[in-house]
Structures are given as structure tokens and as C-alpha cells.
Assembly symmetry: D2
Homo-oligomer: 194 residues x 4
């Protein structure tokens, strides 16, 4: 590993510890679990992106990483970050979490308060030819999130509407400690419906 890698790995460990220490975040971990990713400054492939092997799940009511932080440990979130970086190179980190109608409305408000760009990917609009080709969805999804955000990479966005896919929200930023802190702040401020 090189110097960039050592510093990135240290930041990932600190970010992960923040998430594991935030009991409220457990309520935002979806069935498909949460991942936290961090791309090299010149990332080209998923092997340039740190992620958590086995993702973050809920154990004894708290967020817990299933495995180690490794380059290449994520497929979906790593490809998402790499695709977003084609639009904005400052995006290097991201985290995914739950999505419900109630949370979505709350997040939209939260983004307004923070001055963050919010967006949505409605997968019912995805062309059939793309849906059927393994791996082809990502460029379409990112283009859709950016289009719906008026041409910018949004800070938070969600995708919804697919058969057989749990909808999730995504928050992105430049550093895993930043995105972990922002995700934990959301978890502490948000209280579910009812």
C-alpha cells in the first residue's frame, strides 16, 4: 500500500468507529445493509475504492461492520462513486442507508436547511434495454440523479420504484469522516413516523 492508501485506511477506520458508536444509525440501516466507501484521488476501478467487506449490519441493536475495510470490497457503491466522479471529481466518499416515504420527506427538508442539493432516481423511468443488461444501470442512474438536480451531483439522493430492489438513500462527500458524521447527524435528528 502507498502513502495515500495508509492515510485513507486510517480515515476509514475513524469514520467506521463513528458509525458503530452511533446507536441511532441502526434504525437507518436497510435490509440490504449499509456500506461506506472512499475512492482514491485518481480512482478508476472498484479496486481503487475502500469499502467494508460484508457491509455494516445491526448487531445487538448497534451498527457493526461485518468484516474488514478493504480496497475492492464493494461493487455497487464503488461503481456509483466512480460514476459520480465523472461529473464532479471532489466526490470521493459515500454511504447508503434506508429510504421510506417519511424519511424522504424529512431528508428533503434537511437538505433545504443545510443548503444541500437533493435528488431522486425513479427507476420506473429506466429504459428496458438498460435494465436487462447487467451493470448498465449505473451510468443511467447517475445521469438521472444529476439531471433531476439541475446538472449538479446532489449531496443526498435516493432511488425507488424497482421490482425486487429495496430502495435506498445515498449521501456523498469528499471524505468518509465527513459523510459518516453527516449520516450520524441525520440518524440522531430523524425520528421515524408515528
Amino acid at each position: 500500500m502507498d502513502e495515500e492508501g495508509f492515510g485513507m485506511l486510517g480515515r476509514m477506520m475513524v469514520a467506521l468507529e463513528e458509525i458503530e458508536g452511533c446507536r441511532e444509525f441502526a434504525a437507518l440501516i436497510p435490509e440490504v445493509r449499509t456500506n461506506l466507501v472512499y475512492a482514491r484521488a485518481h480512482a478508476k476501478t472498484r479496486d481503487d475504492v475502500f469499502a467494508i467487506d460484508g457491509r455494516i449490519t445491526v448487531v445487538e441493536g448497534r451498527p457493526r461492520a461485518a468484516g474488514r475495510v478493504r480496497f475492492g470490497a464493494s461493487s455497487h457503491m464503488a461503481r456509483l462513486i466512480i460514476e459520480l466522479r465523472k461529473v464532479d471529481l471532489s466526490v470521493r466518499a459515500g454511504i447508503d442507508f434506508a429510504n421510506t416515504p417519511h424519511l424522504t420527506a424529512w431528508l428533503e427538508d434537511h437538505c433545504r436547511t443545510k443548503g444541500w442539493v437533493f435528488s431522486v432516481i425513479d427507476r420506473r423511468g429506466e429504459p428496458e434495454g438498460i435494465k436487462e443488461t447487467e451493470g448498465a444501470s449505473m451510468p443511467w442512474k447517475v445521469a438521472e440523479a444529476v439531471r433531476m438536480a439541475g446538472g449538479k451531483v446532489p449531496k443526498i439522493f435516493y432511488e425507488t420504484g424497482a421490482v425486487g430492489k429495496e430502495p435506498v438513500s445515498v449521501l456523498v462527500g469528499s471524505d468518509p469522516i465527513e459523510v459518516a458524521g453527516q449520516a450520524c447527524e441525520i440518524a440522531r435528528k430523524y425520528h421515524g413516523p408515528g
Copy 2:
């Protein structure tokens, strides 16, 4: 804990070790992860059902339990077993795993070879009033699986067709060591499409 509990917990640990030792099973763990459950002989609620806290996920390419085996650690799979037991009291254990069109076709063949009853729950047929009521789906799903199996509890069944829900397969039996062994045999024999 009582004598029944100690023996059940020991059996859960041995069953879990079989799954963790079966590298091929990692390919059958869905995004929503796998759980393994085991109900008391007179189980009434989810607190009478052992399950794995945090479920089983994939770490370093192998199945790995995220947390401990505990009574009450599952909601969905525990309620499924309890509902199935209203039809057949011999059902005490179950495991869920991936579902794809290719695997479904293979499982149907496998069941024929084994002399096992196979069934399906098509959630597109679920009445709207049930879908919208939290927790109301389970009796409908079990009734549907049993109806499609000609009135018997099937050995393997799957549910499919819901927006926002990953489809999964379920295998049930009388003991977690039995169902773990049967699930691992499937994992070793099945090879994905292509």
C-alpha cells in the same frame, strides 16, 4: 434458559458452523442476508424462536454470522415459521437464501429428485388491503404457499414480484442441522447460470 433451550442452542451452533464452513453457500446469500431460525416445540411468539442476531452475511468470500444466536433475534423468518406451524407442527426450523429465475428452475428440479414439495408465493396476487397493513402479509403468504402446494407445507418455496422487496427462497424442516445440511447440499450442487 431451560433444558429444551440448551439443546436447541447447541444445535443452532452446530448448524451455523456447517453453514459458515460451506464456502459455496456464500453465492446463495441474498442482499438482505440469510437467517436460520429454530422454534421451540410449543413456540407461540418470535421470542420462542432462535435466530442469528444481524443474520449471516458474506465476509472474505465466506458465510459469516454477524452476531450471536439468540431467542427473538429474527422478526420476519420467526413469524414465517410460527405461521407455518399452524398448518404443520413438525416444522420448527428454516433458512432463507437467494432467488433468481435460474435458481428457481434448478430448485424445482431438485425438489422433484428429492421428493420434496415445492411452492411459490406470487405477491402480485396479494390483496391491496393486506399489503398496506404492517404485519398482515404473513398469514396471506403462508396460506398462498400452502394453497399452491395443494394443501401441504412445502419443503422449499419462494416469493417474488414485490416492488422494493428482494425475492428470496425459503427451505424449512424440523431441525436447524437438517436444514443447514440441505441448504449446503443445494449450494454445493447448484452452479449459477452461464
Copy 3:
């Protein structure tokens, strides 16, 4: 595994959970760590004795098992229990923990209160020929503990006085839940010197 093994494994898991949940016990875990062992009713070798692979260590200030509960996972404590069973077959479980002059004095009092037999193995009395032969110490140590206890297997004993060996205390009983409970009670009642 057989029926006896399943029940024993369940009891070991419950006993371990009690120890892991007793924060005060962390202060009694020696540098060489703690093990908890449980022998079959007809145990002949260490492979008939459950123990914790990697023993119990202190993580984040709490007792934590390093690995799984397995038959054969202990050498020293397993051989100790097997040797004790030559004197008293009701002894099936044991746990080892710290030993200091202050704790020893306290334990002697505690045993008096409980009506338990207390004993000591002073390894300075061990014949040279035994010390030098790998594995030969155990029969001598058990004979010494029993001799110093007036012919009975003591409930608690300690060994001390060897160059290169950290002294430890041992508590034995018929069941791991019993010995875990008794060890945790000691940990909660005992407060170190000063």
C-alpha cells in the same frame, strides 16, 4: 455431535454470555487470559472437554471470548479437570482467573463464608524430575491441591511460586453456568487493594 454435546454446548454459550456481560470480571482476567471448560460425564481426554478457542480476553474493558466454544480447545484447563475427576467425578467445569496476595486473602475469606474448601499448590515444592518433564506436572499439582485440602477436591485453589509462570486461581464445579455465576459473583464483590 450427540445429545449430551448439544446440551453442553448450549450451557457453555449461556455461561460465556454471563461472563461477557460481567464488566467487573475483566479486572480478574490474568495476562495469560481466562478459560472456561466443561467436560463430558465420561470425559477421558481433552477432546471430551469444551473450552473457548483463544480463551477470554479483555476488549474495550469487558471480558470477550476470542473464538468459538469447541471440544478440545483447551489443553491446560482440560487436563486439570480430567485429573481432578480422578478424585471426584462430580467435577465437570472450571474457570481460571487472576491471583494476587490481596485476592488470595479475600478468596480464603469468601470460601469460609460460602462453606467452600480452599487450597493452594506451592510449585516451589514440586520435585525437579517432574518440573522438567512436559505434561508431568498436572498429576502432582492436583495431588498437592487435594492433599492441602485434606483429601477433598477444593472449590477454589491457586498455584504460585513458579519462575516464568503467572500465578492463577481456579474455581471448579459441576456445570459451566454454575462456575460462571460464582466467578462473576466474586468479581462483583471483590475490590482490589487500596
Copy 4:
């Protein structure tokens, strides 16, 4: 955490992964377990030294960290490194492992081959007044190791001869990846007596 800390933490994680991946090192882990430490460039106290919470133990025949890498997680090894740095500021990392007469003789040869300084601390020479004062041993031990090495900080040294203390060997260097690599090379080359 600051930039130095992030980079150090990343290096600790990589060093730890090397040790965990070296099955042969398990044979060199003493009863008191192994720690790996890494001091800040301007370390003053143990809170400036990274170490492994719960140390490294043997699980399923392999080295395994019990807990997380944290500043302040070691007392003994951290104080040893800080004391050594009073003689040589380039020393920032260290690892401890087993010590037997056979290994000692082998290590002395290995040091000769590598051109490394080897030393010994014979605790039978420790003045009584120092032995009895908690924490007073470390300056004496380091002075003794340096004195026996002709005034230099040795690369490898061991301490022996104390009642109630397991003897260990220590290897030091400037970086945890360096010392982990050197310790694993020793483990792979060394084969125990017989």
C-alpha cells in the same frame, strides 16, 4: 485524529493483516499474548502509542487481534517503546513474542546473520527496591538491555528469570509494517526444538 494519526492507523492495520495472515506466527504467540505498538514521532505517554486492544491471540490456529487498534491500548509495550526512545528516537514500533531457550539461541544466530544487535535482560539482577515499586522496572530493564548491547538499543532482546512472569522476546524498529514483516520472517524460518 490528525494527519499523522490517520497514516499511522493505516500502517497499523496493514501490519496487523500481515501478522494475522502468517499462520506460523501463531506458534510464537506466548500465553500472555502478543502486542504490536507504534508511537507518534513525538510520543510522550502511552496515549501517543497505537496498540491492539486485547492484544493478538491464537484462534483456530491463526493469529487474531482480539479488538481494535487504538491509541493507549497498551500499557507495558507502550511504556517500553517510550523508554527506548529516550536512547534512540528512531525506535517507534515493537512487537513481543515467545521466549524459550531454543528460540533464544536461534534468534542470536538470526541477529548475527542480519547484522542486528541482540541483547538480554536478566531480571534476577534487578535491585529489590525497583522490583517492589509498581512501574519502576521499565527504566531499569531498558538500561540493562542497552548496557548488555554495548550502549545501543538492540533490535531483538528478551527478558527472563522472574517469578510469576512469562519470559518474552521483543523486536523493535521504526515502523509496524517493518517489525511485522521481520517477526513473520522469523516465524516462517524458525522451527521449534525436536
